[in-house]
């Protein structure tokens, strides 16, 4: 389980960094191609695939990051109503919500698997890199099934311990308010 967690985290952080670098390099390349004496060396590099690879990396990041988000409780919902209910009734709504999440992602995973299966029978490739499209679309079933698993995992933990992962938006690593107060004051 720990390995799966680490894999998930490493994958999405790496995709984030890689997509940023690809676009950075592509923009630099476009401008260097405009500089007269460098032009002849770099204009032949074909970076037409940069946008496409960036988009695909982000779509994969989004699908797996959404699963990670279930584990860390980042997906926002309208909880003002149920928070006013008796704790045991609220608990039932929470479990219902988590199981609904598992149902949706499970169904989507299956639809996605089916879709990928059909696309794999065709010869469709992506426009720029000419990657087989079934491989690109594989993010849907893989990401959705992982997300489904995460919903079930969180639901199970909640039923056993009553604890939910909670994302604290005010928490910023490395900024300690007291220390910041001392530094932040005017000279």
């Amino acid at each position: 389980m720990k390995i799966l967690d680490r894999l998930e985290e490493t994958l999405i952080a790496t995709l984030m960094a890689a997509a940023t670098l690809v676009i950075f390099v592509a923009v630099m390349h476009r401008y260097l191609s405009g500089v007269a004496f460098i032009q002849d060396y770099v204009i032949h590099w074909n970076l037409a695939w940069a946008q496409e690879v960036c988009i695909y990396m982000f779509v994969w990041m989004a699908k797996f990051g959404a699963a990670y988000g279930v584990r860390t409780g980042i997906h926002v919902g309208v909880d003002v109503v149920i928070n006013r209910l008796r704790p045991d009734i609220r608990g039932r709504f929470v479990v219902f919500g988590l199981l609904a999440g598992a149902l949706f992602t499970g169904v989507v995973g299956t639809l996605g698997a089916n879709f990928v299966y059909h696309i794999a029978e065709t010869e469709q490739v992506s426009a720029d890199m000419e990657l087989p499209m079934w491989l690109v679309y594989l993010a849907i079933p893989l990401g959705s099934y992982l997300m489904c698993f995460r919903f079930l995992q969180v639901a199970w933990t909640f039923i056993r311990t009553g604890e939910l992962p909670h994302h604290d938006h005010a928490q910023v690593d490395g900024i300690d308010p007291v220390e910041a107060a001392n530094e932040g004051g005017p000279a």
Binding site: G34, Q51, E123, A127, M133
Partner: protein, 319 residues
């Protein structure tokens, strides 16, 4: 809405990605009108313009899934689908004029190309024009060398990428809707478009120069889902085929007319200086771009290119 539930009516969802006022949009509406009349109301055509239902990138998959029945994607979209032969339409100066183009699209070559789509669950019904392209930039582009070093916006296509590189330009793939601002701010220096596209996107406001190069062709194919089409009663299919034939002639006329009017209005605006090629200049462009045909042979097939050369020769052009 209630009619959609009626059991006996056949509904064709015709989805496209441009505005209803464009030649393609008008062609779709014309087909709707003719098809509903020809089938005595047995068929209802619902036209969804402006990517309302499906975007450029997903409409072909939606058609294969049966989520829509009819589309008119640009011919460049069939390469990624696995029918690389369609990239032949993107080749620069492959059609010396419209007559040769018609010989190809309305003759056996056009039919053979459509047959390539059948294994993908698609049937091709007709080819619709957008038009021949103008090369534009913020400096005069009289000779092919004038394009060297410029950042040129293209549609995503391997052939167009190779075409710009053959001219020594840096091709930039960019969504059509972003081109105006990119030209205005200088993210790209120039682009290529049929006159009507250039005019509707107001690109003449942000391009100082343009040459009527007619170097490339932009067109569409009207396609249907194969399973749906073959499941139609024979009389309905015949009626629809007739309607499509008529709608095609109509759409192509409008496209030509639209291009003529757009060019005249852009010229009248005085914002872009249009250059008409001399015979020598045209020859220089053809010479500079012809190597792209050779490079494309491995992708689209040597035979196909040569069969088009034959059609051109029959029309009196030596390729």
């Amino acid at each position: 809405l209630s009619t959609a539930w009626a059991q006996d009516q056949i509904v064709i969802k015709f989805s496209h990605v441009v505005a209803p006022e464009t030649p393609k949009g008008k062609g779709a509406e014309k087909f709707k009108e003719l098809a509903e009349k020809a089938t005595n109301g047995k068929v209802k055509v619902e036209v969804y313009p402006n990517s309302q239902l499906y975007k450029d990138k997903e409409e072909l998959e939606a058609l294969q899934l049966g989520a829509v029945q009819m589309l008119a994607p640009s011919l460049a979209k069939f390469g990624p689908l696995g029918a690389k032969e369609f990239e032949v339409f993107d080749l620069p100066y492959i059609f010396p004029n419209k007559d040769v183009l018609r010989r190809v699209t309305e003759g056996p070559i056009g039919k053979q190309l459509f047959q390539k789509l059948e294994s993908k669950g698609i049937i091709g019904l007709a080819y619709w024009d957008n038009g021949f392209k103008i090369m534009s930039a913020n400096k005069p582009v009289i000779k092919p060398e004038d394009v060297k070093g410029l950042k040129m916006r293209i549609q995503s296509s391997k052939v167009l990428d190779a075409q710009m590189r053959a001219l020594g330009a840096l091709p930039q793939v960019m969504a059509f809707s972003e081109v105006y601002q990119a030209l205005q701010t200088g993210v790209v220096d120039g682009t290529e478009n049929p006159p009507s596209n250039m005019y509707t996107q107001k690109m003449h406001e942000v391009q100082k120069n343009a040459t009527l190069t007619d170097h490339g062709y932009l067109g569409y194919a009207v396609i249907v889902n194969k399973k749906f089409w073959e499941g139609l009663p024979a009389d309905v299919r015949t009626g629809l085929e007739g309607a499509m034939k008529e709608a095609t002639a109509y759409a192509n006329d409008i496209a030509q007319n639209e291009n003529d009017v757009s060019l005249a209005q852009m010229k009248a605006s005085g914002k872009t200086a249009f250059h008409t090629q001399t015979k020598e200049e045209r020859e220089a462009w053809v010479k500079a771009l012809k190597p792209v045909h050779k490079d494309a042979e491995s992708r689209v097939g040597k035979d196909l290119i040569e069969s088009i050369y034959k059609e051109a020769a029959a029309a009196g052009f030596k390729m």
